[in-house]
Subunit: 334 residues, 2 copies
Amino acid sequence: MVKITDVARHAGVSPSTVSYALNGKRPISEETRRRIEASIRELGYHPHAGARALAGARSHTLALVMPLRSGVHLPVVTQFAMSVVTAARRHDHDVLLLTGEEGEDGLRRVADSARADGFVVMDVQLNDRRLPLLRTLQRPSVLIGFPAEPAGLTCVDLDFRAVGEACAEHLALLGHRRVALLGSPPEVYERGTGFARRVEDGFTAAADRNGLAAAVHPCEADPAAAPALVRRLLAEDPPPTGVVIHNEAMLGPLTDALRAEGLRVPGDLSVVAVCPDELAERSSVPLTSVAIPAAELGARAVDLLIRQLAGDPVPESTLLPPRLTVRSSTGPRG
Amino acid sequence: MVKITDVARHAGVSPSTVSYALNGKRPISEETRRRIEASIRELGYHPHAGARALAGARSHTLALVMPLRSGVHLPVVTQFAMSVVTAARRHDHDVLLLTGEEGEDGLRRVADSARADGFVVMDVQLNDRRLPLLRTLQRPSVLIGFPAEPAGLTCVDLDFRAVGEACAEHLALLGHRRVALLGSPPEVYERGTGFARRVEDGFTAAADRNGLAAAVHPCEADPAAAPALVRRLLAEDPPPTGVVIHNEAMLGPLTDALRAEGLRVPGDLSVVAVCPDELAERSSVPLTSVAIPAAELGARAVDLLIRQLAGDPVPESTLLPPRLTVRSSTGPRG
DNA sequence: ATGAAAGCGCTAACAT
DNA sequence: ATGTTAGCGCTTTCAT
């Protein structure tokens, strides 16, 4: 195994000089730095992570806590994880993967054993059991999603209010005057992170601003209920010409039901979905949609964590703007 | 921070005794062990991972290398990762997450810096660039999938030949006499890990054994081609009454095309899919299917890695038996 | 069955 | 701008 003293000898300097050249904590002459870098490459030196963590105060590792439950769309989880790793590597950090299942004990274990310097926690619930611990732990963390009481925690999420607004505005711009939101099932409002309500608020607010008539239909995750819901929607007089679906499980059943009722999309009805791009693309009519920007969320979370580790102040709340992708399911009214 | 000397003092023993009590490398009297364990709990002691790695020869960390390309079904990746973490924790190991993107340099870095004791490598290609390195690295690894030349490497995968057999046998048992396999696109055969061919072989072999007439249709991943393919399938005289679809991208288009041709599933045609359960369940007619047992693969991979780390001999090749889940898309002939 | 003590490879004072 | 050196907390001989 190649160690720092090997590099030092090879470059004709002291170990500490190599160490400093590596982490830039004090100035090194250009000439010396070059020799050291050459030696490192030539010998294939990689500092022993354990020794580094023991002597320094940092493991150069971030912990990523994956969801407990599988309510989250799994592809989004993978994309998110990948972007976290990629971003972490850019900052010379590795990523330790934890499951939400390990709960508070897992967090404490990882923190106490100095396995990780900070945490990225996915799938944070409104009243997450882990919140008190995360607050007191002497390591920074970044939460994906907003708990009921986010004060004192660093949180990142998609700006769901802006999602609702973007959907309404997209339909308004296409000339629609009557729009509806087919929302999430009640469980999501209660158990979830509150994002369903935020979409709703943004949707109705933007509809108001644009003079649209807007209806909101909460929506169970029951495929069998789709036809009835669609009929109820169309029974309005006059019926909406644009609809936003924020309910992943019902997306298929609802579009099927629309087709069954003989409605053409977007000819008779424009449809905007709030769902992963993957789903929107695979639909029989590719859906105009707003997706969770998993990669951006991951990169941003790492960024915030690294800045905290550097002692920089960071905003407690970060909301990422939504991006609406226009596909084939929306068109001008009529 | 609580350290081993704190525990030792609290329990009235020497640090080394605590260490031995922790890892069981020498006998400790029942009485002493109990006192030590009590102290550990009371003080909330967690050994410093860096110190442990430095003094010992093990980081107690496994590296999990996630896929480069996104050809792999992302939900399967997530499930796999979760099961790897869960299994690793059962053996007192943590998991470091790497992306395939880091390639050989990433593996070397992690090995040389003693960040991980071994590797689980997902998505191994037939002629993976990382294979030579994995062979020479002084750390064990387990590959998910079989490269062209697996000798000297520990590989785990679903037994795809048995998958083909299970599908054919399921149809045979239902009384079908003429069956067809709608296979993977040519790219998969070339670039892939050879599993497509193995399914094919198993399928035809089992069909032969059971006296079925079996046709194999390779199948581009082009949704527009689905109707033509279905018509071609039905043009056979007599047409098959059972079909196996091993092509994730075409699953939707093909079932749509079947419906468009007025075929009832399973009334007129029984369909077996080789695809993630998730997809099979969400199909308009829930599909009888064989899935990738992601969780089992992950657990098995970790198992093999841990056993290698313990110096135990392990089989080079492990094939997991497929599980066919009967849903609504298959029924007796006629 | 238990203790004492010598490192493991690195970082960060404290030197010059 | 660079060198010297004392630990960081643990494991593991070598003792007893």
